[in-house]
Symmetry: C2
Subunit: 417 residues, 2 copies
Amino acid sequence: MPTKAVSLDGQHLLAQIHALAAVGADAEAGGRTRIALTDAEKDGRDLVVQWMRELRLDVRVDRIGNIFGILQAATDEGNQRPLMIGSHIDTVRNAGALDGCYGVLAGLAIVRAYRKARAQPMRAIIIAAFTNEEGVRYQPDMMGSLVYAGGLAVDEALATIGTDGTRLGDELERIGYAGLLEPGSMVPHEYLELHIEQGPVLEAEDRLIGVVENLQGISWQKITVHGTANHAGTTPTRLRHDAGYVAAAIVAFLREQVVGAAPETTLATTGSLHLEPDVVNVIPRKATFTVDLRDPDESRLQIAEKRLADFLVEIARREGVTIETEQLVRFEPVVFDAGLADEIEASAQRLGLSHLRMTSGAGHDAQMIARIARAAMIFVPSRGGVSHNPREHTDDEQLIHGARVLLDVVQRRLAVA
Amino acid sequence: MPTKAVSLDGQHLLAQIHALAAVGADAEAGGRTRIALTDAEKDGRDLVVQWMRELRLDVRVDRIGNIFGILQAATDEGNQRPLMIGSHIDTVRNAGALDGCYGVLAGLAIVRAYRKARAQPMRAIIIAAFTNEEGVRYQPDMMGSLVYAGGLAVDEALATIGTDGTRLGDELERIGYAGLLEPGSMVPHEYLELHIEQGPVLEAEDRLIGVVENLQGISWQKITVHGTANHAGTTPTRLRHDAGYVAAAIVAFLREQVVGAAPETTLATTGSLHLEPDVVNVIPRKATFTVDLRDPDESRLQIAEKRLADFLVEIARREGVTIETEQLVRFEPVVFDAGLADEIEASAQRLGLSHLRMTSGAGHDAQMIARIARAAMIFVPSRGGVSHNPREHTDDEQLIHGARVLLDVVQRRLAVA
């Protein structure tokens, strides 16, 4: 069969990014909300599956709802493990258009390039869209890839109860994405993920391509402070057991003492916080909040966790409250495959694109798949480092640069297969 | 008409307290919730009105929903202004049984004592149950008595939009308590309010009766911090505009710097706090919270407000966020009528009950009525100082002591009328 040169159709990729971005659009604020396994996310899944079918891919869904579009290999003796390209299409609330979606749709652009050239690769190429990467409704985040890599039993994951009281397995059935494929049954030879940086480094360093060689460790805790509800006007300060003040003091301590004292690599965030009874003139009886700690170095991450734990003991004693902690997520830092990172760097070089070897600040499905296959990531710049926000932006040209690097790497890896 | 001695039926008072406490009972936690103008609060109003009718009182409701039960005077030449005894029957969420209700039902016990004795006072006695004292759903709190005293236009009050988006006037119509009487049309000669302390002072000092000679000033603000939502894992600390951290730092500052540096009389509380988008791995874009500042001394209250305001400017600059403040409530400290306080003290003495002249830490309807009439308050102990909580408790014997002091004061004031 005559083959043309395999080349990327950047405009088609951009058009699909815009089309998917319109699914689950928010009333105001110009964002979109496709939280895992909601109706809006089902619509996003349906659109991506439709596009996979248009590319004549073999579409498979596994028991945790991961979607796979498979381009079969030229020599289908089944002894060549596939090259997997993946990311996710679920979003946070009022999200940007690129986080996750870019990587999945770039994967489809790679397959499209092969189809257009009537070229068939020496290995199957699998485009993966993993379930619930964001972890907004069901925790832990990166759940689909974690289950796929064997890090969490599928039945345990299906039994997860969401923040809205729903059971993940039921919602998966409801939206029609409870597949039959056993997670992990197609072990990739190598895994590549193209993603926006979601941070300011590439922009600040004025580089086009991030060669991601490692990924920081993540520690999520839910902290509950139990104090005593009391009248705000009559209870002397010395007699208070104010769960709200204690929560605020912990959040301030994290920023001012833990992060303040640590190297710049340690990050701490409290994204969610609730008081009870949440009334202006009642001292809070209960405070519940989250702590997100990150560091690319495991020992430094443990130091931050220790300093927080010590402070909890100290303030609980001082304020006469009890404090419970629950570990929601704990991932050690991940080091990606050096050979694959070198390959990405070489491709960027070949294409004349400025590049930087860097650490991923965010968690990505690649860190899970790295447990079962050689993996690496390609980043493109995020304007202002903004992400998880409608203002998330990467220039069209930069998005195309990233996809061209991905295609170049894929061609090299398949050639040498 | 033959008259017997006027004496209090303590058991009947306790029985009515228990009966009203059962209205709007919460599923768990042993509390009750009768937030102003809800169905549960309507049920409480209906029960109190029924009891007023059983005492053959002339029941009137004014335009803001204040309920008045009037025992006519012996000499009804209408030139003798009435003695008013009042408080409220609305509650906070998951409240105790005594806050407010005790004062209204003790008033009914006074009237009952006169009825039983077939005695008619020289002045009319009005038992008042004021609308929305707690201010949970509609602000400001103490609204009914504030309107009655002319401190807030009734039409403005009726137009208040609640936390649930409802209009106060509509809810008043809905529950059937939008009366015709013009607020303030019955100006009392004197006003007495019997209430639980809601604080630990009487218990700590081992006294049975609190002679309340003044009431601290109250300043409520709603503070909104506008930051930038961003990814928790990729945004370096120095580039963050974290609305959640800023809110926490303000709450901690209030406790550690404002209250910490002030005399013990200054109190600061954050009872309500909300983050947006409220997701574990997203730096909060917005934080909204309340600040409740109190002090019996106006100048000290102003110092606390000033220190907070200065810190808001400082931290907004430091963290690159914008901060809005809205004054929800602002009442200067109130000094009650010294003669009436002396009368209360004399009655306690006469009845052989230990007593203490003190400041009210909470806001009460009495502070509003003090604008149009001589007013004073009687406190009884609150176990552990606990209030706004199902564990709010005063011993039955102490409740009866308080009502006996009230009756004694009423008899003295009416005798000298």
